[in-house]
């Protein structure tokens, strides 16, 4: 058994480095750094503790092709989120599609395509939270980054509507890869809701989405972030989200995993000053042979911060769930309050869940709780409902919905709660 994987990505990135050396694009230096970092690393294997349950060799070994096809509104229509009133920015296979996007004309708000003109403030922040040296996937994303979204919310400005950023994998007969990038910079007191929505249209060739997002919150800023994974069963997805919180800021990230083949989400949030609050909500609805791995790391660097983490998984068929929740409390971070819960509902005997909390605590006056459960639908509840006339199918929907509700009630955006509920209904009616 080898410990490294030969990947066609290495040749691609090596070829790119040449090109970048002669480029005058503002991102060239960062991308070159990333290309060099990628050359020095290798894709993780299951020998690494953090990748024990998730084997990315299928991604590493595959050959993907960049694809610059265009799609129209009609193709996108089936992915619309009912009742969502939002600004919409669309990327197709990683490239900004202005004809599918709306413009945000609000004072104090900048929404830019990274491939276009980007203000200096945003430029200087790119790559600061998720440096390419961090992991091979971030290096790959950064090296291959051709486009993405950059958002700046000025001091004390509230984005009037959620920003719905749709990343479409438009798949033809060959597999495509895209490496979307998102950067959110919120000045002091700024407030925004951002929805990263990953969908796919077209063919079923195995494809790969490798997004990296950075969120930088200044004092008292507020960001409600969503990651909706609704890609087809042919798309593998490895994401990184890196959040940095300044004094009194409040960051929530909600992840709904309702699609994809192999999914691995990595979230790290650093609470870097006092009185910050961070919430990580996750709901996975898995079926078939889906593999959904959520890795989270919350760093309590300073005192008096709170973090809440709740991940739930509903797993059918032979789907596999993985959860790893790291909480790091620095020596300084007294009066930390950290709660973590991970619960899985197995709808099938062949579904599996691997859950692991990892608490690393160096302060002595903290409150850290964690708990994990795995179970199936409660037979006595189901009988009680049936005895009242509710049929088995509906009883299962209601019980599953109740299970999901414990997380969904913390999703502030109602259309997304509804979207998740509809996904559960569809899931259970397909059985």
């Amino acid at each position: 058994m080898t410990t490294t994987i030969d990947s066609p990505f290495h040749a691609r990135v090596a070829g790119l480095a040449e090109q970048l050396r002669g480029s005058d694009d503002w991102r060239a230096a960062l991308r070159l750094r990333a290309a060099e970092a990628f050359e020095k690393t290798a894709f993780p294997t299951t020998k690494l503790e953090d990748w024990k349950y998730t084997n990315v060799s299928s991604i590493a070994k595959a050959t993907f092709e960049a694809d610059d096809r265009a799609i129209d509104d009609e193709a996108l229509e089936p992915t619309a989120i009912p009742d969502l009133d939002a600004h919409r920015i669309v990327f197709v296979n990683g490239t900004y599609a202005p004809e599918l996007s709306t413009s945000v004309g609000q004072a104090g708000i900048t929404v830019a395509s990274l491939a276009g003109a980007v203000e200096a403030d945003l430029q200087s922040n790119l790559g600061t939270q998720a440096p390419p040296e961090q992991t091979p996937f971030v290096a790959l994303n950064t090296a291959l980054m051709n486009d993405g979204v950059a958002v700046h919310v000025a001091k004390d400005t509230k984005l009037d509507k959620p920003l719905h950023v749709v990343f479409v994998s438009a798949v033809g007969s060959t597999g495509v890869d895209s490496h979307p990038r998102a950067l959110y910079v919120l000045d002091a007191g700024a407030n925004a809701t951002v929805i990263e929505d990953y969908v796919s249209v077209g063919g079923t060739a195995p494809s790969f989405t490798n997004p990296v997002s950075e969120a930088i919150l200044a004092d008292n800023a507020f960001l409600d972030h969503y990651r909706l994974l609704r890609e087809g069963a042919n798309v593998s997805h490895v994401s990184y989200l890196q959040g940095h919180l300044a004094r009194g800021s409040n960051f929530t990230t909600n992840v709904l995993c309702a699609g994809g083949a192999l999914v691995r989400n990595n979230v790290e949030v650093v609470l870097d000053d006092e009185s910050c609050e961070c919430t990580l909500n996750g709901l996975t609805i898995g079926h078939g042979t889906q593999h959904v791995d959520n890795q989270t790391r919350i760093v309590h660097a300073k005192p008096h911060c709170e973090s809440y983490e709740r991940y739930r998984a509903i797993l059918d068929d032979e789907s596999e769930g993985v959860f790893n929740g790291k909480i790091y409390v620095a020596k300084d971070a007294q009066k930390t309050d950290a709660e973590q819960a991970n619960d899985a509902l197995l709808l099938s005997r062949k579904a599996t869940m691997n859950s692991k909390p990892e608490l690393e605590i160096y302060a002595d006056d903290v409150k850290c709780t964690h708990g994990a459960t795995v179970g199936d639908l409660d037979e006595s509840s189901r009988f009680y409902m049936r005895a009242r006339g509710i049929d088995r199918q509906e009883a299962d929907v209601m019980l599953t919905m109740a299970f999901a509700g414990e997380v969904l009630e913390h999703f502030a955006c109602e259309p997304i709660r509804e979207l998740a509920a509809a996904a559960i209904r569809t899931r259970l009616s397909d059985r």
Binding site: D378, E379, S380, S381, F383, Y384, M385, R386, A387, R388, G389, I390, D391, R392, E394, M398, L399, M401, A402, F403, G405, E406
Partner: protein, 252 residues
């Protein structure tokens, strides 16, 4: 209404019901008494369609249909209601939502139109008053964190909303103080007055309930069989002499 013949049932291979014969005509109230573990709840659960119990012999006909052949939900749709000895707590499902789903699936199965939110609210208010329950309870999760008495009252409340043809009350009186007991009895009696054709099977250990819900027949279940049947005076006699008296006289 209900005709049970030689009903036998086992759970995990253990034989529990050993041949039950019982006929309940429209409008009748039957009380079933008997020592702990004699099979009273098993009978109730088998009739309601719990799949953990294997029916190994006999028949049960409910309003002309083969009850044992029906899914649990179909039995409810046909008008059978079981008030559970141990009502189940369902966190995250609101009582009102649960009841509305139950009522509507019953209506749908009967080819009636579904009840809308306004009508439902009206019905719920009316029935809540009937069984004297706090309307706040209706918006809480089904039985979650309810006291024993609240759970039992909630069963009666559900019964009042669902308006069954035959209700089986499995020890709904256990653990109730005298006020709550009267509420339960009132619920039953009002439902009976609404429709004199309604029938009830009341499983109880205590004759005190039977002061309020007056049975037409009293049966004693012991060792999975009905070992004695009689009128309401049998309950008094049992209270007086205990079950051992029956077991001795029938020589079981």
């Amino acid at each position: 209404m209900l005709e049970i013949k030689n009903l036998q049932a086992s759970v995990e291979g253990a034989e529990i019901l050993r041949g039950i014969d019982l006929t309940v005509n429209p409008g009748e109230i039957h009380a079933i008494m008997g020592p702990n573990g004699s099979g009273k709840s098993t009978l109730a659960q088998v009739l309601a369609g719990h799949e953990a119990y294997d029916v190994t012999g006999g028949t049960a006909t409910f309003r002309g249909e083969d009850l044992l052949d029906m899914e649990a939900e179909a039995r409810a749709h046909a008008g059978l209601f079981l008030a559970f000895q141990y009502p189940v707590e369902i966190a995250g499902v609101a009582n009102s939502y649960f009841l509305k789903a139950a009522l509507n699936s019953t209506r749908k199965a009967r080819g009636e139109k579904e009840i809308d939110a306004v009508e439902f609210l009206k019905l719920v208010k009316e029935k809540a008053k009937l069984v004297n329950i706090d309307e706040k309870m209706i918006n809480r999760s089904v039985n979650a964190g309810f006291s024993g008495g609240e759970k039992k009252r909630n069963e009666i409340f559900q019964m009042a909303v669902l308006e069954p043809k035959l209700a089986i009350l499995d020890e709904t009186d256990s653990g109730l103080d005298i006020d709550a007991l009267q509420v339960v009895a009132n619920g039953v009696n009002k439902l009976k007055a609404e429709d004199p054709e309604r029938s009830f099977i009341v499983v109880t250990h205590y004759q005190r309930l039977l002061n309020y819900i007056v049975p037409d027949y009293v049966h004693v279940l012991s060792g999975g069989r009905i070992v004695k049947s009689g009128g309401k005076e049998l309950a008094l006699e049992l209270e007086d002499k205990g079950y051992s008296w029956i077991e001795e006289t029938v020589g079981a």
